[in-house]
């Protein structure tokens, strides 16, 4: 089991940030690090829709949309909101937990357009993790591999 708790002082600092900067930072980092691997997927049904990832324990939301060229921050009401703790998001990202498992145990909540949520889940499930690791800078790829291993 992944033993990950977000350090409290850091969490406190993050919760004090307004919504916009985390969303902007997220989009920027995701475009730099993940988009080279993600752009091979069929994003057509997801382009232009509005998403929010709510990290419950850190008290912030990442709001963004998807364009032909990557992620872009947004403001306003999303079509789909996915909520979980930072630890559970990491478990999902590292493929250590199945989203349905977290959903049954109420650790993952999806609100809004259910079909959109399922489409994203299935799109990301079909992504070969090797292709993502391959595009990451080496220290990050090593860290991700450690997270997925164990």
């Amino acid at each position: 089991m992944l033993n990950f708790v977000f350090p409290a002082p850091l969490a406190k600092l993050v919760t004090q940030l307004p919504v916009a900067p985390p969303s902007r930072v997220f989009s920027m980092l995701a475009n730099r690090l993940l988009w080279p691997a993600l752009k091979t997927l069929d994003w057509q049904p997801l382009v232009g829709r509005r998403y929010a990832i709510r990290v419950k324990d850190l008290g912030f939301s990442l709001r963004f949309t998807v364009t032909q060229h990557g992620f872009a921050p947004i403001r306003g009401a999303p079509d789909l909101t996915i909520s979980a703790t930072a630890r559970d998001f990491l478990l999902l990202l590292s493929r250590r937990e199945d989203p349905d498992t977290l959903f049954f145990s109420r650790r993952l909540v999806s609100e809004g357009d259910t079909e959109l949520g399922l489409t994203i889940k299935n799109l990301l499930d079909a992504l070969d993790p090797e292709s993502v690791l391959h595009h990451l800078p080496k220290p990050l790829a090593d860290a991700a591999q450690r997270l997925m291993g164990a």
Binding site: P45, R95, R96, E97, D98, P99, D100, T101, F103, F104, S105, R106, V109, S110, E111, T114, E115, G117, L118, T119, I120, K121, N122, L123, D125, A126, L127, D128, P129
Partner: protein, 333 residues
Amino acid sequence: MPLDLICPAGSLVSLKAAIDYGADAVYMGFRDNTNARAFPGLNFDEAQAAEGLRYAHDRGRRVLLALNTYPQPDSWSRWTGAVDRAAKLGMDAVILADAGLMRYAVKQHPQLRLHLSVQGSATSYEAVNLYREHFGIQRAVLPRVLSLPQVENVVRHTDVEIELFGFGGLCVMVEGRCLLSSYCTGESPNSAGVCSPPKAVQWTDTPAGLESRLNGVLLDRYGKNEKAGYPTLCKGRFEVGGETYYAIEEPTSLNTLDLLPEMLKIGIAAIKIEGRQRSPAYVTQVTKVWRAAIDAVKKNADSFKPTPAWQAELNKLSEGQSHTLGAYHRPWK
């Protein structure tokens, strides 16, 4: 070999995980409503199916294709086209429910191996043998309504291999005949390929609890610490006679690890794991446990006992509050 492990694959990543962790075969569907897990973004296009077949065959495993919904007259060619593609790709078997489609497959592709889907609802050896006589089916997946002695009776009176569900979500068990969701959505599971079309599903977190609705109809409201289930009409809680409860079926998962020695003794050909809609993490976890369990029972059936670690791992993955032996175990029978 008896007790082959058949694992679900909703994507190439899941297929590879199932093969890597010891499935003898995987089952998949094409990207449309010709199979009963027709979710957006799930399943295989032709190129992915070909790659999956290559991956499995290189490792001496098999791939089965679920074509287990019922064709409608205006879209008959979609289903026959899927049979043709399966034959062209070299699928090790197709899992069919519709007799008309079986007839088509036998005529057009006599070399293609046919399995009778659970959706075919054959519960007696007479029914299984009828499919054998007419269409030469090699295997039948039995609906989850029979007790083990009843299963044994089927096995004893047929040459057809018998496959049983071993683990995963349960349904109200009118497989192949369920129309329930069409009362809410106008779409029945057996033609649309899903029980609850995602476009009709709505989740809302309210002060009273997490609510699921199907096309506006309230299915359930989960209290703070209650485990949630899939948003299907059969597993909702309804007010009946002044009481609110699971009026049709409680959401539980089937888990038959305890029954493996008996299944081996009866001569069950294969154990099927439910869950093509689940993610690669589920496929990995469930395949690991079932591979270990089947290996253990084959080594020594008399001393076989599921380990608490296996049960804990499977419980964690389950829908609903608990797991059950389903209809297989009926002490009163």
